[in-house]
């Protein structure tokens, strides 16, 4: 890991090449993280990979987390690794949920949906077809390993990676509705029919 001052040095160097790209740094529990502007995330990743003296050439993991109800709520995490110096650095891009048709106040979180369905197992209402999804640039060109992992993030969080060769669901069925790893996704069950009789006469 780069230590706290090392992280600030990296930030300073990125600032020279890409002003405004790094919004924040954090050094917590021995782990270094750069919070970057989502519009410039690919530029920062490619700088960390290729700039002399950096060499974070291995993308260990790409995953997302939902910080709901905080805003911006979605965090895309890139766990980079320098295998020569055995150092990890995390790049984080925080994404807002795009404003939907309804009037939503600036600071207010959107109203909470029903957290748990009753035992009657009401399926969640399907989102509108023209649902606006958060978007970020894909880093597949830079790190081919991100292909499956970006699809996984899309599958579970509904975050679209622009420029990804095949932005489709990977683990869930193609006709699945909703983004289940979002924190406001209702849990509690979907009706499952096991037999022909149950489906037709139950």
């Amino acid at each position: 890991m780069p230590d706290g001052p090392g992280l600030e040095l990296i930030r300073g160097e990125i600032e020279q090449d890409h002003p405004g790209a790094v919004l924040e740094t954090s050094f917590d529990r021995e782990q270094a993280a750069l919070v970057v502007d989502p519009a410039q995330v690919v530029a920062v990743l490619s700088w960390l990979r290729d700039a002399p003296g950096q060499g974070y050439r291995f993308l260990s993991s790409l995953h997302a987390a939902d910080y709901y109800p905080a805003e911006p709520r979605f965090g895309i995490h890139y766990e980079l690794l320098n295998r020569d110096r055995v150092e990890r650095i995390r790049v984080k891009a925080m994404l807002r949920e795009p404003a939907t048709a309804g009037p939503v106040g600036a600071g207010d979180p959107p109203p909470l949906p029903v957290a748990k369905a009753s035992s009657g197992a009401v399926p969640p209402a399907p989102p509108p077809a023209d649902e606006a999804l958060p978007e970020i640039d894909s880093c597949v060109e830079l790190f081919p390993t991100a292909e499956f992992q970006e699809r996984e993030v899309f599958d579970f969080f509904g975050i679209v990676f622009k420029g990804h060769p095949d932005m489709t669901r990977i683990l869930l069925p193609d006709d699945y509705v909703g983004w289940p790893q979002r924190r406001d996704f209702p849990i509690g069950g979907e009706p499952v029919t096991f037999t022909y009789n149950e489906a037709n006469y139950g």
């Binding site: 987390a65 499956f148 992992q149 924190r183």
Partner: protein, 399 residues
């Protein structure tokens, strides 16, 4: 006649798309492959996954930290100790809990036993795919001895829930060490027998040598880790690179291959079994005395004997079992070397008693991306061989 001949000639070059799986014995689980074939040559390939997706990561968000352990174990069902270590290690780093030396050694012993177990399952099933049926019985014979050891120490043969945040749940029982030493003494002989059976087997050699080669640079781009990467000549092992558990104090080698073909993958894994045996031997010799779990009542259950005498212990016990412990907001990524490569666990804590996000970076899931590179341009039979050597566990891929 000329038309017929032309049509016949045309048939040889027609590309045919066929479906393999998801239920097929050679796919090592429920993996579906959509393969474009030109004659017998694979021209393109698309793995379709998700058939055993069970939403474990989502389920973890609704469980207190200590209840997550049995969930993550069930992802990659062949290397359950590794998932436990990844998750427990991540939470220990989140709360800043140092585990006692004995727990480190015990965890190392069980991880390495699990690595041998996982490689045995791989060797048995892959050799079975290649026609060496007897290998399955030999490998599963030794695997059963490992499961017996797990059962003796933890009460369960699989999904043992043995690692806890702070250490391990129980000390090893009396007689376990002797039994483990016997196993450790036998295992190198057994591995030698496997090598004798396979290394001079003409069918095995001709099917594995020079098939499924992917260059080391390409593997690194694809994020491939573990024995696959080491077989291509890259000596990258998180046990050596990062400081975790008892590994820095133990002497072991990192086997690497030269060509990066399926034969090297086999050689690397077999050599790793021997190295794991050496690690277990040293860890047993150096096993320190002392507590096997940290003495921090805020995170660790108090000993059973105290519950009837100490009110304070009873309160701690009640709080831990009902609500669990709260973890200050923060996030940690902790990666270990699993039998299939880098197994990372990302845990996001939001200050409550339940994790806000648990993500496992499963090595099989990422490694599967290399399968296309391994197979395109080769025969279907080599593709089956490469898939076995890739060693994906679909429970881990789909989670």
């Amino acid at each position: 006649m000329a038309e017929l001949a032309a049509a016949g000639g045309g048939l040889e070059t027609e590309v045919m798309t066929i479906n393999i799986g998801p239920h097929h014995p050679a796919t090592h689980g429920v993996l579906r492959l959509v393969v474009d074939l030109e004659g017998e040559i694979v021209r393109d390939l698309r793995p379709v996954i998700g058939y055993v997706h069970t939403g474990i990561e989502k389920s973890c968000e609704d469980k207190s930290y200590w209840k997550v352990i049995p969930f993550v174990e069930r992802m990659d069902y062949v290397s359950y100790f590794f998932q436990m270590e990844a998750f427990c290690g991540a939470v220990e780093r989140l709360v800043g809990l140092e585990i006692p030396a004995r727990a480190k050694y015990l965890r190392t012993i069980f991880l390495e036993l699990n690595r041998i177990h996982s490689h045995l399952v791989w060797l048995g099933t892959t050799a079975l795919d290649l026609g060496a049926v007897s290998m399955l019985w030999y490998c599963f014979r030794e695997r059963d001895r490992i499961l017996d050891l797990f059962e003796m120490a933890t009460g369960q043969r699989m999904h043992t829930r043995y690692f806890q945040v702070g250490g391990v749940i129980e000390d090893i029982p009396r007689g376990f060490e002797a039994k483990l030493r016997q196993f450790v003494a036998d295992m190198p002989v057994r591995v030698g027998q496997y090598q004798d059976l396979l290394d001079r087997n003409e069918v095995f050699l001709s099917r594995t040598k020079n098939t499924g080669i992917v260059s080391r640079e390409r593997l690194l781009q694809l994020g491939v880790t573990g024995p696959l990467l080491r077989a291509a000549g890259e000596p990258w092992d998180l046990r050596k690179a990062f400081d975790y558990l008892a590994y820095p104090e133990l002497d072991f080698k990192v086997p690497v291959g030269t060509v990066g073909d399926n034969y090297d993958r086999y050689r690397v894994r077999v050599a790793e079994m021997i190295e794991s045996v050496r690690i277990i031997e040293q860890a047993l010799d150096g096993l320190p005395e002392g507590p096997f779990i940290a003495d921090d009542r805020k995170y660790v259950l108090p000993p059973r004997s105290e519950l009837s005498t100490s009110m304070e212990s009873l309160i701690h016990h009640f709080k831990l079992v009902t609500e669990g412990y709260r973890v200050e907001a923060g996030e940690v990524y902790y990666a270990i070397e699993s039998p299939r490569g880098e197994l990372g666990c990302f845990v996001l804590a939001d200050g409550s008693a339940k994790p806000a996000r648990v993500h496992i970076r499963d090595a099989s899931f990422v490694n599967l991306q290399a399968f296309k590179d391994m197979s395109v341009g080769s025969y279907v039979a080599d593709m089956i061989c490469s898939l076995g050597m890739l060693d994906p566990i679909l429970g881990g891929v789909d989670r």
